[in-house]
Symmetry: C2
């Protein structure tokens, strides 16, 4: 039995793997999903269903478009200012981690980034709370979940400025009010599907206002007009995303999975706080439900706990080098049984440690 706590690309439901595996051999009339035209009615149906599922699962209001693109969140770091920031104007950015920082760096090609608050000095261990967003900002950009540091932003600041959010690592994990956002983007490879796909949810009325000429593939409006098929889309990744979103729907949707995610996170944080060998790395009120970061009170024990985890079938628990220690990523598809197994592992390790040291 393996437990995949990897940070992404990450675990997806086993039944999605089974369906995807079958479609690679036979999607339609003996043809593989890898050899069919994206212009076949069958695949057009897949894109339609995937779009409908995103709208349904997140309760997307009218006036918003859902896009399936390529290039990951990293390409969005540039596409956002290219499409939303008029030449020489300023956008407000909240700096909560390395990915927010990367987003900020791409702004300079199009205008200016104003960092309204940052937790960089404390190695991003918390989400800044009290900051002002200048009303003349072209937009406010934030990162809802910080994979590397294990922090999550559960409340949005009140602002009249358009809100743009990188939700790569917590989209579909909890109920959000899409109407509070003007643009949401997310690399698919956590709770949506395989790598090679990016989801964008954009309020149509905010587009086309920069006065800047935008190359076709980088223009949201072109993709909206093309129904995510301006050019050949990433067929297989969209297909698997559709399967995965269908799985989420069958589980009861986002509200239901949020309860599971809360239960998983609570169980693991409770153990981290209880177990004297371990401790969390970030502000308790900002603890992410998706990525649980922890270290050991005695760093010298980390190597042997890592080996113990490895020997017992745990995957992807190594913390990011900038935080160290461990990171348990617990995306939608990670079963709570894997979380309980990890807790058991920590308790067994503690008992063994106590036996040896008493």
């Amino acid at each position: 039995m393996r437990h995949n706590f990897g940070a992404g690309p990450c675990i997806l439901p086993q039944e999605v793997f089974k369906q995807a595996s079958r479609a690679v051999l036979d999607f339609k009339d003996g043809l593989s999903i890898l050899e069919i035209s994206h212009r076949t009615p069958e695949f057009e149906g897949v894109v339609e269903e995937a779009t409908k599922l995103v709208k349904e699962l997140l309760n997307v209001p009218s006036g918003y478009s859902v896009l399936f693109l390529q290039g990951g969140a990293s390409l969005q770091f540039a596409m956002v200012p290219m499409n939303l920031l008029p030449e020489g104007k300023t956008a407000a950015y909240l700096e909560t981690g390395v990915w927010a920082n990367k987003a900020i760096k791409e702004v300079k090609f199009f205008g200016k980034a104003n960092i309204v608050a940052s937790s960089k000095e404390s190695n991003y261990t918390f989400i800044p709370k009290d900051y002002a967003i200048p009303e003349d900002s072209a937009y406010f950009h934030c990162t809802s979940n910080n994979t590397i540091y294990g922090t999550e932003m559960f409340t949005l600041p009140v602002t009249k400025v358009p809100v743009v959010c990188d939700m790569s690592s917590d989209i579909m994990s909890r109920v959000i009010d899409v109407s509070k956002y003007d643009l949401i983007y997310a690399g698919a490879q956590k709770n949506i599907g395989p790598a090679g796909l990016t989801i964008v949810i954009v309020k149509d009325e905010i587009l086309g206002k920069t006065g800047r000429g935008i190359p076709s593939m980088l223009d949201y409006k072109v993709h909206i007009e093309g129904g995510s098929m301006y050019n050949t889309p990433p067929v297989f990744s969209i297909y698997v995303a559709m399967l995965n979103l269908n799985w989420l729907k069958s589980k009861g949707g986002v509200a239901e999975i949020e309860q599971e995610n809360k239960a998983k996170a609570q169980a693991l944080y409770t153990e981290i706080d209880r177990n004297p060998l371990f401790k969390g790395t970030c502000a308790v009120e900002d603890r992410s439900r998706m990525n649980v970061c922890f270290v050991m009170e005695n760093p010298e024990l980390e190597k042997s706990f890592a080996k113990f985890a490895d020997d017992n079938g745990f995957e992807g628990l190594k913390g990011h080098r900038s935080v160290g220690g461990f990171r348990a990523s617990m995306y939608n598809a990670l079963p709570i049984t894997s979380v309980h197994a990890l807790i058991d592992l920590m308790q067994t390790f503690e008992e063994d440690y106590n036996k040896k040291n008493n």
Copy 2:
């Protein structure tokens, strides 16, 4: 028995589908290829092997980098001038079809496109031959194979200007001398692998000379430095490309497949020229080996031939709406038996027609 003559995404070898299908269930230690980190040694090995295979199969000289990117050829239409065309300068473009035309349209955001020759007036039925490329052009851009019109460019003009080529639909189908090109790009979904992947082969020394600031994800140099892993790559598409390129190598490589492709094309064109019911649509000397376009002498028969093909398990034979008639795409993985089956179909249709009309 189905025969997949689709124009792309297109047929890949059956054994590639089988291997890919298995990896979706179990790539490594029971984990799916869809749930592993791109930073695992196993996947880093995949990228390394895929890169090595491209270099080996195309005999790429030193001084060139091979990149696995996203966004398709359509994103390259913008990335090429962004990376190679200094502000206000001019690049020379050969207009041989709709895709060349789309590439030309993206230049305006960065400089000027000079169309050195075009076959647009004759609906792109031939490849222009006699044209001059001004020596002060930043580069010369051409499209080696025109999927929609069934023309292919078998010789390059002699020029001192850097040569950029969109090889989306004939890369890996015939031996090329990479040293004659400065940048080659190709959407993967013909002879390389599934949709959602783009290959770029670029001579390192031509980069970094525009003086323009380039967003990270659109900068070839960033991807070279990142070894195609600046951000999360399209893991599954790269994996399947590696399988497919390995299949090509096991078949004897590009020189060997070129002979097969020549035999397939010759067989079908011979039948088109012989069979009084059919005729080719473009200049004989420019006929593509990848996409064979043909119509019927009597257009009223096309509907019934289309139905006859459909009833007999032929997929993807419908011609593009701008040419009409039929298009038989015969990429590397299409077995010659499928070509023979199509020829038989055309002959049976002819016999039936003759019986009814004599």
